[in-house]
Amino acid sequence: MNSELQIIFNWIAIGFYIVSTVFFAYSVSFQKEKTLKPAILLALIGLIPHAIAIAIRWKITGHGPYMAKYEVLSSNAWITVLLFIIAAWRIPRLRPAGVIVMPLSFLMMAFGLFMSPEIRRLPPSLRSIWLIIHVIFNKLAAGAIIIALGTSMLYLLKEKRQESDFYKKLPSLDVLDAYSYKFIGFGFIFWSITIAAGAIWANEAWGRYWGWDPIETWSLITWLLYGLYLHARYFLKWQGRRAAWLMVVCFVFSVLTIFIIPFVVESLHSEYFR
């Protein structure tokens, strides 16, 4: 019963997120600023059934949302939407980024539901305080990166349609670019903490803090790419379109690392995403 209930709450949340996406898409496509507020409100309401679904799942499994695709994707989507709402509340001009953030969030949830909603239990290696730190910061990193993708995409969209009234109401290109930089900065910090916590945990579990496991290595590749982005901005003064496209590349690698590699390669980390 509880298991069905959480699926129902998940679908209710997805429903809200889809309607929110429609409002965002309408706002951005037809340049109607008025629909941005209801879009944010719908996303905020959607967070409630989503949180209930995560809480029910937590109660059933007895562990946090970090085992199996369904839990990982659903909790990542929740953190992303929450981070986005906080960012949109603090910086109202970033609201149109919802047109990128919301569909990515509900697609993550729906994908998780279709792939593996069955319960997976916690293996002994995952019972560590470092796992909590590792997972929380990984989700925060994913959220920050998705928002940075949103601002970078808005930059690219606005650059093409500078004459449009709607896009004129968006933050200036420079400001959008600066926000992308800032959110990637957040993402880089969170990703660094994820790697550090994971390394300390690996040392406790297996006696070495780095084993060149495929996911570890991909995580390092992604971290290096973000490092490259930050150095290119600082030293080579890369900004604007070039930086936005580099951000898109970084995002693709992040998705590969978090969601695709655990599928295709055998790794110590694969367990969480089976």
């Binding site: 319960i119 997976r120 239990r121 293996p123 002994p124 290696s125 019972r127 560590s128 200036s172 420079d174 400001v175 670019d177 600066a178 926000y179 930089y181 800032k182 900065g185 957040f186 880089f188 910090i189 660094s192 903490i193 550090a196 390394a199 300390i200 040392n203 406790e204 579990a205 297996w206 006696g207 070495r208 803090y209 780095w210 060149w212 495929p214 290595t217 991909w218 390092l220 590749i221 290096l224 790419l225 490092g227 490259l228 930050l230 150095h231 290119a232 030293f235 080579l236």
Partner: protein, 442 residues
């Protein structure tokens, strides 16, 4: 001397630093794309060598199949270490040096008319409300700054990376690591030769643990879904014939003894013992160690030579006849015995059964657990931990606390302002506009 100086200046040039990052990216990318010696069995590479000798030759020559221990990768890491070290030295020197107060050029100032004269003290209070602190004060110019710690962010972050790389290199040079499979009731000698797999640092020759370990009991528990709930090994440490108390090694909770950490590996299974008695009365005892399958409905399988005989044993072992359990109940083994390609025996056997194979009596003697144990004589990893911690702090300082500096000068009701920052300039420009607005409203 000049050459050395020029070398260090070159490796810390921004473009060179970016090249180093790209090279590291390429190296790690090769590491995940090309099968690595540490991940695959030696037979995999033998097969590769036979199938495509030219590709294998190039890969082997360039050490692309052992990237992370290759000479070129270590050289790259060493150059990164030098670049980081010299860059740190430069940054620290620059930060310690007292900065000269450099006012902006007259053309860069913005002017606002506040209509009334704002006292310097009011400006200081106003800026303090925005968490800007007075950095410099002269008769007509006030200099405020925020997040002064930011200039140390780079030093802190890169120091952390420097320590992590040092720890990694020390580990690569001095670490001793070995894996062994121990059967219940058996003793691991602790000798270098008896490890199944060894991973020694470049400057290490042997890994003798210095004590023996007897596996007393291996425990395994499962969730109702069949996933592992817990595994642990109960062991006795035998140090110079003095038997210590029984200790338990759990996942995430290693046993520490005499500077050696013993970790519980995820490799475990059942060991099947066979005794082969020849017509002349001579005996050979052997143990086949079978790995746990990923599902409990699957058998524990193995295919291996029987030592000192021409026989190959192919085994499918179920710990319980229900064929749906990892626990030992009523075990059953489906055995096939080959000599070359000829099958000379096949059938179901249980412990205690005797088989007649080409005149030899082969007895399925017993079944026991075996457990994988990892022995590590590690280098103290506190350096790496400190490195992780301070690099995260450094990254936070760099990106969360950008340095901001605002100059204010007033003549009568005319207030001149100038601001500068090292990050997120358009956002700072917006902040400056707000400050100007609020000041003109005062």
């Amino acid at each position: 001397m000049k050459i050395i100086e020029r070398f260090f200046k070159t490796i810390t040039k921004p473009k060179f630093v970016i090249t180093l990052i790209i090279l590291t990216l390429i190296a790690t990318f090769i590491g995940v794309m090309v099968p690595q010696v540490s991940d695959k069995s030696p037979s995999y590479f033998e097969e590769w060598k036979l199938k495509s000798p030219k590709t294998f030759y190039i890969v082997n020559l360039l050490q692309l199949n052992r990237v992370y221990t290759s000479a070129w990768f270590l050289a790259l890491v060493f150059i990164i270490l030098l670049a980081l070290g010299y860059s740190l030295y430069q940054q620290i020197k620059r930060n310690i040096k007292k900065r000269e107060f450099a006012p902006p050029a007259a053309a860069d100032w913005d002017f606002i008319d506040t209509e009334t004269v704002i006292e310097q003290e009011s400006l200081i209070r106003f800026m303090r409300g925005r968490r800007y602190f007075l950095k410099n004060r002269s008769d007509d110019v006030l200099v405020f700054s925020k997040n002064s710690i930011n200039r140390w962010g780079g030093v802190i972050f890169h120091s952390g990376l420097f320590l992590i790389i040092i720890a990694a290199l020390v580990g690569l040079a001095f670490q001793k690591r070995g894996f062994v499979q121990v059967m219940e009731g058996e003793v691991f000698s602790g000798m270098h030769e008896d490890f199944l797999v060894k991973d020694l640092g470049a400057l290490q020759q042997r890994f003798d643990v210095g004590f023996k370990t007897r596996l007393y009991k291996f425990n395994h528990e499962y969730w109702e879904t069949g996933q592992i709930k817990d595994i642990s090994s109960s062991v006795n440490i035998i140090d110079k014939d003095v038997k210590t108390k029984e200790k338990t090694i759990n996942v995430n909770s290693p046993l520490k003894y005499n500077g050696i950490n013993i970790y519980q590996s995820f490799d475990y299974g059942y060991a099947l013992t066979f005794v082969l008695k020849r017509p002349d009365g001579s005996e050979t005892v052997t143990h086949f160690l079978l790995d746990r399958p990923d599902r409990r409905t699957k058998p524990f399988v193995g295919s291996t030579d029987f030592p000192q005989t021409p026989y190959i044993f192919r085994m499918k072992f179920y710990p319980d006849i229900s064929m749906n359990s990892y626990y030992l109940g009523r075990p059953i083994l489906y055995l096939e015995v080959f000599t070359g390609n000829n099958m000379i025996f096949k059938g179901l056997v249980i412990p205690g059964d005797m088989m007649d194979i080409e005149g030899n009596k082969v007895k399925f003697e017993d079944v026991r657990h075996w457990s994988g144990l990892i022995y590590v004589k590690g280098v103290d990893m506190s350096i790496a931990y400190i490195g992780f911690f301070i690099s995260c702090i450094g990254a936070s300082i760099i990106f969360l606390l950008p340095y901001k500096e605002i100059f204010m000068s007033h003549k009568g009701s005319m207030l001149s302002l100038y601001g500068r920052t090292n990050r997120y300039k358009p956002l700072f420009a917006e902040e400056m506009e707000k400050i100007k607005e609020e000041l003109s409203e005062q």
